[in-house]
Every structure is written in C-alpha cells, then in structure tokens.
C-alpha cells in the first residue's frame, strides 16, 4: 500500500468516527428534546348548558297522560293503572322424578348380552302441589336437569321420551350411553334440556288425566356395541329428571275457585315534587274499568276506595260485581268488562285529589269461577294479556289554584373545566298566566362550598304592570365548584286570583349558561 492510499484510508476512517459521534449526539439531543412542559393558554368561553321546561306533563307527572292544547286545555289519561298477576296460574312447582333400577338377585356376575332390555316402562310424571286442573300449558321458560348413574360393568343406554312435550314441533327425547364402570364406581352423565317455548299436554298417557306428563323410559345394553355386561346383584342404574323454574305463558283447564287479592295502590302526586296547595280539578269524564282477559268468570268484591286514607263512597262499593269470562274462541281476546263511573262518587274523589294526595287505594278481592266449572274445564289464561284495571280521565284545565307548589331536584355530576373563573348564568322565564314565587338552592355535595340561595317572583307573561317575565342571576363560580357534584333544588309556588283558564301551552323555562375564562392545558 503506498502512502497516498494510506492517507485516503485514514481520512475515511476519521470520517466514520465522526459519523458515530454525530449519531450519538443526535440521539441524545432527540431524547432531551422529548421532555416538554404542559402548554397552557386562556380562552374566554360562553356556552348555553341547560334549557329545560316545566310544563303540564311535569305537573301531572305521568307519561300516559297527554295534554291537548286549546282555548281550554284538556288533560287526558287513558291507560292501565294496574295489572292482575295470578301466580297460581303462571308458576308451576319444581318436580323431581327418580327411577332406580336394581337386579332381583344377589351375587353375580350375570351375563347381559348386547341389545338386552332391562327396563321398558310408560308412566305419567305427576306435578304435585297444583290445586288447578291443568290440561295443557305453553311455557315461557323452564328446564329439565337430568342425571343418569350406572355402576354396571358394561355399556348401558337409556332412552327417555316425553311425547307430550314438544319444542318447536319436536317431541323431547333424551338418549344417554354410559360406558362400563369400574368396581365400586359410578359412570354418571348430567345435562339440561331447555323447555323455553315448550308446549306440554298434561293429560298423561291415557289422554284424559290432568297435571301429568306422559313419558316412556327404556334402559338396556346397546345392540351396536359388542360387549357383554357383567351385572352383579349390588349394581344399580339411577335416573333422575328435575323439572325446574317452569313459568307459564298460556294455560288451559279448570282453574278452580281461586281467591284473588285486589288491593290496588296508585301513586298520584309525588309529595317530593308537589309540595302542597290546591288545584281545582273538575273532570268531565272519569271512568274506572276492569277488563277480564281470563276465560273464567270473576266475582269482584270491592270494599273501599280511599284517597290518602280518606274513604270515598260509591254505589258499586260493597256490592259483588260479576264479570263474565273472556272469549278466546276467535284467537283474539274479547274481554269481559266492568265499569265504575268515578263522577258518581261521594264525597267527590276529585275534590280530594285537588289537595294533591300521594295515593289512591282500592281494596277488595276477586273469586275465580264463582259458579264452579261451568265451562267443562275450558278455562284459559294467557299471561301476556293479564286482566287490567284502566282509567279513562278527561280533565279541562280551568279552575282556581291556591299555593300550588312544585319542587324538583336536579343532579349534576360535575363539569370538568379546569382553571375556570366566571359566572353561571341562570335565567327563568314564566310562560304561565299566573306569577310564580320561587326558591332555588345550589348545594355542592362535598360541603366544601357555601350553598347559593336565590328567590324571588317571576311575574306572569301578561303581567299588567309590565314587569318582565324573565329574570336572570349570575353566580360566580370556579372550576373547583363546577367539578364538584352538586344539586340544584328548585321549588316554586303559584297562586291564581280566582279561576284561571290554561291553554296547555304554559311553560316555565329554566336556562343555565356558563361564561368565563378557562385555562386550556395540553400535557
């Protein structure tokens, strides 16, 4: 190698060292440059947060009620206030069926060739503890938990058929094959058969019984396995079938003279929301009706109708009411109906309701098939269409209002606006033809902040004095207070000077906005 070549090589070598140094330095600088502090800046925000209305649907507090606007608004309620749940018809008791097969000899072994039948029996599985005489049912849900045990030294097969139980048109059949068990050991197989949607004929093997399922059980050695079972006198084969959690969708038969509790308690005005006062209620229609969807007669004995414990008289109270059975012959239910006109009550039930009671209660009892089995075992019940108590009410919104008070509590989970300083803007707009006196209390649940109180009067929207029916407050707040879970407890009272007519369009509007400076932080 001559000197010139050596010089070039040396030069290049120095260059590669430089590159290594450069790469290391750049990597180090890269790491140093990755460390950063949060970037922060301030923004001025102004946003509406809440806009909520308090109207007549809030006052009557029920989603089934509708308000028809007009020159005189009408509140209508036409819906179910109670449904009759008859457990005796919809729940079947759990039933355990066990079969144990043991040899009639002692000692052994006894040779059992392939294809031998050890047991072949047809019998009914009887549901105990049912007072009614059921002929058929359709299950909403339920299951059979089965278990098969064998101590036989040889293959054992079991075929358990339930020809009267069908799921999706197929009868329920169970086949179990157990391998030979060792000395003193049991071969076991367990499982579950889902009976959801199953149709069950409860007339048994003979076809003219009640409350029983026909079954056929065959136990033997499998013909397709070349194995000779060695059976000893001490061997056994145990089969158990456990019918569990059977909930009925449809049932037919004779339901017997079942007593039904008929205690109805209907919440009317929530005292937490309606704090007191008087609201003149003069309904033009108020009909209470009972729809009997059972294909079985009912005798209704109503003892009392009470408004917050105050009894209300009515000609139909204390007198047995016979309600005819429903007609299911067309596949659609034609219920038996019974009506009670509440406008005939005395003292008038609506005078009592005007004082904003919490509960209306009705006590009594019913009796199924008061005349016995007049249908020849043709009673029918579909749990999806239970008997219902319905109310049809029409209430024109006009009358006097005295110190009618409402209260609502709004929960806030906290608003995460870091580094915020500003105002919470509350605005109340009165759209009622009467003025409202109100109180508002904003309470933080952590009690780290002093509650804020507001009160005043919002004039009606056509106040003759010209006062604005909109009032606004500003509450200074910080991010700590905003992020803390809090409650806004709002209560208001209105008082009309004599009769007042409502159109149904009345609203009390609550708006909340936020305005202030927020520090944005980007980590």
């Amino acid at each position: 190698m001559n000197r010139t070549q050596f010089t070039y090589l040396f030069r290049e070598k120095k260059g590669s060292h430089s590159l290594v140094v450069l790469v290391m330095c750049s990597v180090l600088l890269c790491f140093f440059s990755c460390s950063r502090q949060p970037t922060t800046w301030e923004v001025d925000i102004a946003l509406p947060l809440v806009d909520d209305l308090l109207d007549w649907t809030d006052v009557i507090g029920d989603s089934l009620a509708t308000v028809e606007s007009g020159s005189v608004a009408v509140i209508r309620f036409d819906g179910v206030i109670s449904e009759l749940d008859i457990e005796a018809l919809t729940q079947l008791p759990d039933t355990l069926v066990a079969q144990e097969l043991t040899p009639d000899f002692s000692g052994g072994p006894f040779q059992v060739p392939p294809g031998a039948v050890l047991l072949n029996t047809q019998e009914d599985i009887v549901f105990q503890g049912i007072d009614q005489q059921f002929k058929s049912i359709v299950l909403e849900s339920g299951r059979i938990e089965y278990s098969v045990e064998s101590s036989t030294d040889g293959y054992v097969e079991m075929q358990y058929d339930f020809p009267s139980v069908t799921v999706d048109g197929e009868s329920v059949e169970l086949y179990v094959l157990l391998p030979p068990s060792g000395s003193g050991q049991f071969q076991t197989e367990t499982g579950v058969i889902d009976l959801s949607g199953a149709s069950i004929d409860l007339t048994g093997v003979s076809g003219n019984k009640i409350n029983r399922i026909a079954s056929e059980l065959v136990i033997g050695t499998p013909a397709f396995i070349e194995d000779t079972a060695q059976v000893y006198g001490s061997d056994s084969i145990l089969v158990s079938m456990h019918f569990k959690d059977l909930l009925v969708q449809q049932v037919s038969g004779y339901f017997g003279q079942e007593m039904l509790d008929f205690d109805v308690e209907q919440k009317v005005f929530d005292s937490a929301v309606f704090t007191g006062g008087f609201l003149e209620i003069n309904p033009s229609r108020a009909m209470l009706s009972f729809n009997n969807t059972l294909a079985a007669d009912i005798r209704l004995d109503l003892d009392a109708l009470q408004v917050d414990g105050i009894g209300v008289g009515h000609p139909q109270l204390g007198t047995p009411q016979f309600i005819s059975r429903a007609d299911w012959s067309s596949g659609e239910v034609q219920p038996g109906e019974w009506n009670m006109d509440l406008l005939e009550s005395g003292p008038a039930i609506f005078e009592l309701l005007g004082y904003l009671p919490e509960f209306v209660t009705m006590q009594g009892e019913g009796l199924l098939n008061p005349l016995g089995d007049v249908s020849g075992g043709q009673d029918f019940f579909d749990a999806r269409q239970p008997p219902q108590l319905q109310l049809d009410l029409e209430w024109p919104l006009k009358g006097a209002i005295e110190q009618f008070g409402v209260s609502q509590t709004f929960d806030f989970g906290g608003l995460d606006v870091p580094q915020f300083e500003g105002d919470l803007v509350l605005r109340l707009t009165n759209g009622f033809p009467v003025s409202w006196e109100f109180n508002a209390e904003w309470v933080n649940l952590s009690s780290a902040f002093v509650p804020e109180y507001l009160d005043g009067t919002v004039p009606s929207f056509f106040d003759e004095s010209g006062d604005s029916h909109v009032i606004e407050w500003r509450i200074p707040i910080s991010d700590l207070r905003l992020s803390d879970p809090s409650q806004l407890i709002f209560s208001a009272r209105m008082d009309s000077d004599g009769d007042v007519v409502f159109t149904g369009n009345e609203r009390l509007r609550l708006q909340v906005a936020i305005e202030g400076t927020h520090q944005v932080t980007v980590e």
Partner: protein, 414 residues
C-alpha cells in the same frame, strides 16, 4: 496557535445540523437547496479518488408558518404559557386567510458508481432518504375558537371547513441508473412507520349573545396507521445542460409512489347539535346522558378493516439557472407537492468568490409561509470535497418573531 481545521468545522456544523434535525417538529432541520450549484460546470467524471463511491449527504430541517412566529410555535410544541399578546399578534397576521404551519426534515444520501456500467454511458446509482414532514391548516375562526374561545365573537358563524393536521415519516432506499449529465432514475422501496391525518370537511359553530342558541356541526374524518406500511417510489432527475446554451434547466421528482397501509384506524364524525341548552334529563342529548359513560362513542364511527393504498407526499422541483457573468448567476425554482399548501417559488442570485467559494441570496415565496429571504454558502475544499450551508430566513435566527427557521447542510465528494 491552534488552526481551524475544515474537518472540525464540518463536524461542528454537522452536529448542529443533526441536532436540529433530531428536534421535534418545530425545530426540525431542512430544505432542498435550490438548483444544482455546480450545474453550469462542464460535466466531469468524479474527481474523488478514494476507494469509496462518490456520494453526497444532505440533512435539512425547516418549520414555517404564515401566522405563528417562532415564539408561539415553540410554546405550542415545547410547552409553557402562551400569553394572549402572542395569540393576538398571530391572529392579526392571519387576517382572513387560512393559517398554515408545516415542517419538513430529513436526510438524503446519494451515491453513484465510479465506473460506467459495462461499456455503456450509464452508472449504477442509489439513494437513501429518511423524511418526516407535517402539515396543518386552520381557518381564522378555528384559531379563535381554540386559542381565544368563543366569548369574544358571539353572534358570529365560525367556519371550520378545511382545518386539518397530518404528519408522516418514511424511509426510501432506492437504486437506479445515472446517465450523462447526472440524469438519473431510481426505484425505491419505501418503509413508512407511521402516518396520521385529520380533516374537518365541514364544520360550523355559533352561539348567540343571549347564550340561548348554539349550533355546532362537524363532518370530519381521521386516519391513523396502526402498522408500518410498505410501498414503492420513483425518484428521477433530468438536467438540461448544454455548453452552447446560456442557461440550465433541471427537473427533479422525488418520492412519487404509494404505500400500502394495513388496517389503518379510520374515524368519521358527522353530527349536528343545535340547542338552546340541553334538557336536564331524557333520551338523546341531555345533561344526564352527557354524564353517562360511553356517550361519546355514539358520535363517531371507527373502522380498521382492510388496507389503504396511500400516495406518498412526493415533490416536483423545476429549476432554471441563467449565468449573468462567468462568476455570477441567477436562478429560479418552483417546488410542488410534499403537502405544501402553496407551491414554493424561489428566486436567487449567486456569485463565486475565488476558486473555492460560492454564495448566494434568495427570495422565497409560498410553501407554508410568507415571503422570506434565504442565503447560502458553499466551500469547495482542496481535497475534492465540498460543504454547503443554506439558511432560510437568516435574520430570523436570532429573533423570536420570525415565522420559522430552516437550515440545510450538504457534504459531498466531487
């Protein structure tokens, strides 16, 4: 007395350059030097007589905005408290235009064989590139919303259309052939470790002065790579160089290709909220439902099925050089692509000083920023090597109020 050695100078400059390159976006290092500095010289075979291939290494980094000065950009990227005066100054600079910020950094190693391939006039050539670029744009209203809030312009419809942000990085290892006058074409294998992009296609925001009417709508999409992608790219150069012609013309195409991105995470938002405030409770939008877990999940769709074919942000450079005298020249260059919101136009004057020095000044318009100057110097070392430094907006290097910085360093064997 210690003498200043060229190797030490280069090393020092290179350390600075690579450090700049290694810094994150706002401090990223480079820009291609406009034109071929030696292009008017007669084509000559490589003069580097070392055993190694003739090569050149270029590292660069630049960041630039048309509204945000260096101080604001640095605060956004490196952290710290942003004073409102900085925000207002940037907003005033933006006026009614779209705001832009972009960066480009990378390194490129070019090499070519010393000898012709067999008996042809062709040489083998190759290059390795590593690039990281980013681009973001915003409407004036978006800027106001994000950095000053909405309280200062109630009753105004804020238009957010076209606001976007995207960034990508890739490596390109290419081989090809080089003909006479350094015309070359290369096909490269591309490895892209990541890319993300987000775009507001349409977006509006409005709040009235009474604070009881708000309208917010957003149709936007975003895409993020979850796995590295592979692709192909074409690099090509064509140089018009004639001894009889009094000018030179160059065309450079880089990273014209695509990447196959497997299972990218795609998000899409298309929602409108028009409210005077939300009800306290109830189905749909309400204060109560907002506080429920998973509420935001219903506002967007996410999908990561299949693969996307995405174009690389390639770039086309067109350069024209005209000698004013044997030692002076004038050049013009236009650069297109690489996610620049506007083509970058460069015009410059250069002069040779003695046998070893060249220097030039330029005016640059377009790209991500406003009109700015640039300057460069090139030293042809006695050992058939050359080193070049290029500074964009050189007066801005000592100033926090400049709208960006850029530096390019090139070391080459001739």
């Amino acid at each position: 007395m210690n003498s200043i050695k060229p190797a030490r100078i280069w090393k020092t400059l290179a350390v600075v350059a690579l450090a700049w390159f290694a810094l994150p976006s706002a401090l990223a290092s480079s820009v291609q030097v406009s034109g071929m500095l030696d292009s008017l010289e007669v084509e000559s075979p490589p003069t580097d007589t070392s055993r190694f291939l003739p090569w050149s290494l270029t590292v660069w980094g630049q960041h630039r905005s048309n509204t945000m000065d260096h101080q604001l950009g640095q605060l956004l990227v490196r952290g710290g408290n942003i004073d409102r005066s900085l925000v207002d100054a940037a907003r005033e600079a933006q006026g009614g235009d779209m705001g832009t910020f972009g960066f480009s950094s990378g390194l490129q190693l070019n090499a070519r064989s010393r000898r012709m391939w067999k008996s042809t006039n062709l040489r083998l050539c190759g290059s390795i590139q590593a690039r990281w670029i980013g681009d973001s744009r915003w409407t004036p209203e978006m800027y106001d919303l994000v950095l000053t809030g909405n309280a200062g312009h109630l009753e105004r419809w804020d238009v957010l259309d076209g606001t976007r942000a995207r960034s990508t990085a890739w490596l390109n290892a290419a081989v090809g052939i080089e003909g006479q006058k350094r015309n070359r074409v290369e096909l490269g294998l591309v490895y892209r470790p990541f890319q993300y992009e987000g775009l507001i296609q349409t977006g509006y925001f409005y709040v009235n002065e009474a604070l009881d009417d708000m309208h917010a709508s957003m149709r936007a999409k975003a895409r993020m790579s979850r796995k590295a992608g592979w692709g192909l790219a074409l690099n090509a150069e064509w140089h018009f160089l004639r001894e009889e012609a009094p000018f030179a013309f160059h065309v450079q195409l880089r990273n014209f290709g695509f990447v196959l991105a497997p299972n990218p995470l795609r998000f899409a938002v298309d929602t409108v909220l028009e409210t005077s405030g939300l009800p306290l409770s109830g189905a749909g939008w309400s204060i109560a439902s907002l506080q429920e877990e998973g509420f935001a999940d219903g506002l967007y769709t996410a999908d990561s099925s299949g693969a996307d074919i995405q174009m690389l942000p390639g770039r086309l450079d067109l350069s024209f050089e005209y000698p004013l005298s044997p030692r002076m020249g004038w050049d013009v260059q236009v650069q297109l692509g690489e996610w620049m919101p506007l083509p970058r136009a460069i015009s410059g004057f250069r002069r040779a000083f003695g046998k070893h020095w060249q220097a030039g000044v330029q005016v640059i318009a377009g790209g991500w920023g406003r009109i700015r100057p640039a300057a460069w110097a090139r030293w042809r070392m006695p050992n058939e090597r050359a080193i070049m430094i290029y500074l964009e907006d050189p007066w801005g290097w000592g100033s926090e109020s400049a709208y960006g910085r850029g530096v390019t360093l090139r070391y080459e064997s001739l």
